[in-house]
């Protein structure tokens, strides 16, 4: 079970926003390796970020599978060039995926540079998260009864 608390979420969101700004990119998404969106920033109103997260994770999983077949260490990143939008995908701390969408307003070089810095910052937050979850934390599951769970699915 992976748990993200308010405090870490804010720290991560801040890093993602800064990356989007500093790299002059269109949008940035942070995704867990199972395809769930963790944080996002930029022009995402017209993007289906849920599908994008799942497909990106699938893509990274497939590429990772290829790497293992070739006895390579995990490939560290991917770059796809489109007519209007370019995509930069990288893996942070072997656990989460950083997706940057950008266009001609910036360059691959700048994106790479900013991603490097942001990756380090995200890693720091994840590390402090790992330390914290060792300690006991309040859980919403303590309050959930059988009845609550039944009610979830009794809508029809």
């Amino acid at each position: 079970m992976e748990v993200l608390y308010e405090e870490e979420y804010r720290a991560i969101q801040e890093v993602v926003e800064r990356l989007c700004r500093d790299a002059n990119s269109k949008a940035v998404l942070l995704i867990d390796k199972n395809g769930q969106e963790i944080a996002s920033s930029g022009e995402i109103e017209n993007i289906d970020t849920t599908s994008l997260s799942s497909l990106t994770a699938g893509n990274v999983a497939a590429t990772g599978g290829i790497a293992r077949l070739l006895a390579e260490k995990e490939f560290t990143g991917q770059f796809h060039e489109g007519e209007h939008t370019n995509v930069h995908i990288s893996i942070v701390a072997q656990r989460v995926i950083l997706l940057v969408l950008f266009d001609q307003r910036t360059s691959l070089g700048l994106v790479r540079l900013r991603v490097k810095k942001a990756s380090k910052d995200i890693q720091d937050v994840l590390d402090s998260m790992a330390n914290k979850s060792e300690q006991a934390k309040p859980s919403i599951f303590e309050e959930i009864t059988d009845e609550d769970i039944d009610n979830l699915f009794n809508d029809d």
Partner: protein, 195 residues
């Protein structure tokens, strides 16, 4: 792996539909998609061949109500059933919280069902999961066909551990939501146990 976000107040869980080729996994998701109101579901993503066989996975995000102010969201995935897509199946099982095994009830598919079930167990074990410890239900699909084996016979062969089981006709939707709700409920119970 379930993902609990205290900031957006969401519980996210991953459910995988597994089973032999053409047993009706994709049809299950298509039916759920059609019958769910647009505000409770996202887009359905299907990575399929030109002949509509699943190539990598289908994906359907679904909201199923709230518990204590937390939205319960389920990410439904299907695997490709064809034998030679085993590498892809392993990838999709990563981080799974609950499994639906969809069996093809037709007598001549019994061997394919059993092989697929063995394959599920092996692939889970490879990643450190034990099917007997996971939230898990079985669905006997295609019960409308004349060559469908009866439930008790299917059960004897495919449900040795006596998990919740459902008869289904995915094309008309019979048993589809019953199956989904049962596995979703087991997932929530399991989360609470592990808290």
């Amino acid at each position: 792996m379930s993902f609990i976000n205290y900031s957006s107040r969401e519980i996210n869980c991953k459910i995988v539909y597994y089973g032999p080729g053409l047993c009706g996994k994709t049809t299950n998701l298509q039916y759920i998609y059609q019958k769910t109101s647009p505000d409770a579901r996202g887009k359905m993503v299907s990575l399929a061949t030109e002949t509509e066989r699943t190539l990598f996975f289908d994906f359907l995000p679904l909201s199923m109500g709230e518990v204590h102010g937390f939205k319960a969201r389920f990410h439904l995935y299907t695997v490709p059933g064809q034998v030679f897509y085993d590498a892809s199946r392993k990838l999709i099982l990563k981080g799974v919280d609950g499994v639906v095994f969809v069996a093809d009830s037709q007598v001549e598919r019994m061997e394919a069902n059993m092989e697929s079930l063995d394959n599920l167990r092996e692939n889970l074990e490879e990643q450190g999961y034990d099917l007997d410890q996971l939230p898990y239900v079985v669905q006997y699909n295609k019960q409308d066909l004349p060559n469908a084996a009866p439930m008790d016979e299917l059960s004897k062969l495919l449900n040795l551990t006596a998990v919740p089981e459902f008869s289904a006709v995915a094309t008309t939707g019979d048993g589809v939501f019953g199956t989904l709700k049962a596995v979703a409920k087991l997932v929530m119970m399991d989360l609470r146990k592990r808290k």
